[in-house]
Amino acid sequence: MVSDATLKNLHPLEVKTLLFYEDGATFDAPRMQVDLGLVLGQCNQALSWLEAKGFLRESQRRTDIFYERTDLGTEYAEKGTPVERMVRVLAEQGPLTLPDLAAAAGVENRDAGSSYGQLSKAGILAMDGEKRVRLEDPAAEPDRAIRQLLDRAAQAPLEHSQLSADEQKEIARHARKRGAATAMFKIIERESVSYELSETGTGVRTALRERGITGEEIGQVTPEMLRDGSWQGKTFREYGVDAPTSRLLPGRRNPYAEYLDSVKDKLVSLGFSEFDGPVVETEFWNSDALFMPQFHSARDIHDVYYVKTPRHAREIEEPYLSRVAEIHEKGGDTGSRGWGYHFDRDFTRRLILRSQGTVMSAKSLRDAEIPGKYFGILRCFRYDQVDATHLSDFYQTEGIVLGEDVNLRNLLGLLKMFAEELAGATEVRYVPGYFPFTEPSVEVHIKHPRLGWFELGGAGIFRPEVTKPMGVEVPVLAWGLGIDRMALMHLGLNDLRELFSSDIENVRLRRRQG
């Protein structure tokens, strides 16, 4: 029984071949060219497909000999063979000595000698008393046989079996298999295979006939067919729709960037406005404005990247500098006692690469609306050995909420919403945390359906030492989320470095998991 799929997977060339040849008929590619009106390439394709499917069987294999004109043969065909040239020169110039003849005909002396011997024997040339060669028989056509063969071989090699016995004898004198540069023809041996239908092939042919498939069905519908209506009354070739497809290289978003966009969209939908800022910051904004004392251990040279040139900002905007300096030293008007040390106004201008997204939270306070909600997904830089869990630059997700009445419970409410909306958490737990710029501070731990318990982020209420110098008198909830673990999970990865992969193939194949 021949399956539907077998028939659908036949190419029209295969169909035509199967239908044309009866049981026991043998055929090869040249035969098919004639029988089916195909070009050689199509014939070979059809044969190889059919043979691979087992629909054909090899019936005969023979070696055909061909004679191909060499470069020398081509030259002789165009300019004449040495013999032809000698006869032509004598006919035009009269008797010449053998060396003069050789020179005039462009033939080597040695070759001229042997050719003379050959032609004098045939009575075409003779030597006169002054040792000059003379043309005896002007009507003679020496080398006529080989001349004809050379001319016939101009388009395609000559096949041995197509030549007469004389021709075969003649060409054998001028053809070589190897070292053919000095011969007129090169001998080429070609294997030719003939096929006949196998039993399976016969079965398929029967099935094709039963189904009325002719190989003339319409394949690609063309604009011409649609214009002239020639499709009418014809049938369409049915395709094997489950055949493997070829690969396309579509233009595509990067799935990590897409994930970050989805987080941004979610935050926007929750009423947050986006902020952004430069990657080069001052110590002032990166840490001082966040009430981190200048001697704080997290501000060591080994945690932050410093900029080499320029080293310092020219100035820090007032009144922020004076307010922050005073607050660090004695608390200013914030009700704080401050850190009680001498604030270094040079160090605060030192340029660094932003090490925490909270910088922008603090900066945004300057012109924040009340009530207001803001967020940013910001590239940050840390002095860390790069490995699967640490990068020298990475994204942090941070935000703030300002309002007359916002409080700790609102902060927990927000964190719960983030946990559920952004992380799909099933359980949420809060523990007291510590950040230099918030008081009180909490950490939020979540139970994720796939990742289990982990710390989603940290949050708190900005210290008045942070908000007041920026001119904000209302409480400010500040939060930061670690979304990289979820990003990795979404992409089926477990190495942070992969998020920033340079490998194009790798990125092309990457997709969201679940």
Binding site: L249, R253, K264, V268, V279, R314, V431, P475, F500, V507
Partner: protein
């Protein structure tokens, strides 16, 4: 964040509420912002991380146990050995006399004595750990606080603290057998080398010696091998701290004294006598309670925590944290525990109320204010642009922003342009490796880096990124600026100027910008096959594109023709996406 090692058994015993599983410990750790980092190993030592850098009192077994014990309702310790502004405890002749010569070099010293059972390995280990954590994390690596332990029985009081001649003064330091001068210690002793930077430029070096002239130590560097070699079995230890900030020293001394008391030692006060007026008088006795009471308005506590507290609820919560407090006239006043000094502002009281109540006390509640969310205009714009690039068949990439000068500059420009290119680039002063020494000046560099490792990927390669680049920029107060750029690159047998030109044309048409092109000499591209994009009505180039020069491709080891371009988004956005143009 400090991480400490504690003997699990010792911790459980000090907590005093019977056996606890690790899980039970982890449930009560949050009141100390502690996390179990590693469970106990076969020697019984577990590792605990303490998150609050302003709570050095928690960085020891006794200190951590104290917070956990009190929180669990255990006994509140009393520490009767503290002197304060009104009370001076008996120091029985134990005294440190401060010489005027230290005032300009390392002015402050405090000390006390602990006596009791001979110290065992666990106690000694914990004391040394406390010393390390206090002086490293809280004392800025011994700069502002250094601490020494000595065998008190061998000391003839008073102890003298003075400035000593670095060349003349000699003693045998710990871990050495021969006498070295102070200067030689800085040069030859491992601790000397480590801490030399704190003292080496001073005219005199700090020195502690007893009344017979025997040297205790050269703070903050090293103890003497005799008086300063504390060992298991010693039952009377002199604890001394020197530094640059008196309150921090008193606080650190209080922490160690309270720990000693909790471990069952008797704390014996030591008087310190200064030749100048200090905030606490010319002479005071240590341990000394210096903290001022902290007040917080009940209205403020209520507002920040979002709960209508009764006064006594607040007091109970603070009590769970080990804090004595009283409420009157809408204000809570707390007596700061002697081992703490982290109440800078009323909000610090609020946090202790929060922890004292426990997080479960606070029901999450959404903020009620309505606000409108929006993306930045730049983000909106770049999303439209990305959609377009994807439609043109480009794969978006996301790259790191730090790289090497070789990648960002040398592989892009001919040698005679390197200096100029480096001078535009933002360089890191303290790179961890030369692979992360520059902020990228262009997206094209990242795209080339990707192409150079992607010869295995089926061609054509069409890749892009919208991302940040940085450059030096004089007009900005920081002397730098960050830009958002679109970079795109095509690597393919047929990559050529005409195709990239068509793409740029399509991008700018759909983004709504009229523009013209001007041939530009940018040595990254083949001469005559690079163009600058001038937006309609401006003569400022917002971008450049063309066929990358084979020199560039060769430097990257790329064997496929490439076209690339880079367009600044701020420039496009400023232009406002006006219509018209050549398309």
């Amino acid at each position: 964040m400090p991480k400490i090692e504690v003997y699990r058994d010792a911790l459980i015993e000090l907590i005093g509420s019977g056996p606890l599983t690790d899980e039970q410990l982890e449930n009560i750790f949050p009141c100390a912002k502690a996390e179990l980092d590693e469970a106990a190993d076969e020697t019984g030592i577990m590792k605990v991380e303490l998150n609050d850098t302003n709570r050095p009192d928690l960085w020891s077994t006794a200190g951590l146990a104290r917070q956990l014990r009190i929180y669990q309702g255990g006994e509140h310790p009393s520490y009767p050995f503290f002197s304060d502004a009104t009370t001076t405890k008996e120091s029985a002749g134990r005294k440190i006399v401060v010489d005027p010569s230290v005032r300009e070099i390392r002015p402050w010293v405090v000390g006390f004595v602990m006596t009791g059972a001979p110290v065992n390995e666990a106690v000694l280990k914990d004391l040394i750990q406390t010393q390390e954590k206090l002086t490293w994390n809280y004392g800025r690596k011994r700069k502002s606080i250094a601490m020494g332990l000595y065998r008190s029985d061998l000391i003839t009081y008073p102890v003298h603290y003075r400035g000593a001649d670095p060349g003349e003064t000699r003693f045998v330091p710990l871990q050495m057998e021969q006498e070295l001068s102070l200067r030689e210690i800085l040069r030859d002793h491992p601790k000397g080398q480590e801490y030399a930077h704190i003292v080496e430029d001073l005219p005199l070096f700090p020195l502690l010696e007893d009344d017979t002239g025997e040297i205790l130590s050269f703070p903050p560097v090293i103890n003497s091998a005799h008086l300063g070699a504390v060992q298991e079995g010693d039952s009377s230890l002199f604890v001394e701290l020197t530094g640059t900030d008196l309150d921090s020293l008193l606080h650190a001394a209080s922490i160690v004294a309270c720990d000693a008391a909790d471990l069952g030692y008797t704390v014996e006060p030591v008087e310190v006598e200064y030749p100048w007026e200090t905030p606490w008088g010319r002479s005071f006795t240590v341990p000394y309670y210096f903290q001022a009471p902290q007040r917080a308005g009940i209205a403020q506590i209520t507002a920040l925590l979002g709960v209508d507290f009764q006064d006594d609820e607040i007091l109970r919560a603070l009590e769970r944290m080990g804090i004595e407090a009283a409420a009157a006239d809408g204000t809570v006043e707390i007596r700061v525990p002697p081992y703490r000094n982290d109440f800078l502002h009323p909000v610090d009281v609020v946090e202790d109320v929060m922890i004292g109540c426990g997080m479960d006390y606070f029901a999450p509640q959404m903020p009620r204010d309505f606000t409108m969310g929006r993306l930045t205009p730049l983000e909106e714009y770049s999303r439209r642009l990305k959609t377009l690039l994807v439609g043109l068949g480009f794969q978006e990439m996301v790259f790191n922003y730090l790289g090497s000068g070789k990648d960002y500059i040398e592989k892009l420009y001919p040698r005679d342009e390197w200096d100029q290119a480096y001078a535009r680039t933002v360089q890191v002063d303290n790179p961890m490796s030369e692979n992360y020494a520059f902020v990228r000046p262009s997206v094209i560099a990242s795209l080339l880096q990707a192409e150079s490792v992607s010869a295995n990927a089926v061609y054509p390669h069409n890749v892009f990124e919208v991302g940040k680049v940085a450059e030096q920029y004089e007009p900005d107060p920081t002397g730098t600026r960050t830009l958002t750029n679109l970079g795109f690159l095509t690597a393919d047998r047929g990559a050529g100027f005409n195709l990239v030109n068509s793409r740029v044309s399509a991008i700018l048409y759909y983004m709504g910008h009229g523009y013209s092109l001007r041939e530009c000499r940018d040595s990254r591209f083949i001469p005559g096959r690079a163009a600058e994009i001038l937006l309609q009505g401006t003569d400022r180039a917002v971008g450049v594109f063309g066929e990358l020069h084979p020199r560039v491709l060769d430097a990257w080891g790329i064997q496929m023709p490439c076209t690339a371009g880079e367009i600044n988004l701020e420039g496009l956005l400023d232009h406002g996406g006006k219509n018209g143009g050549s398309v």
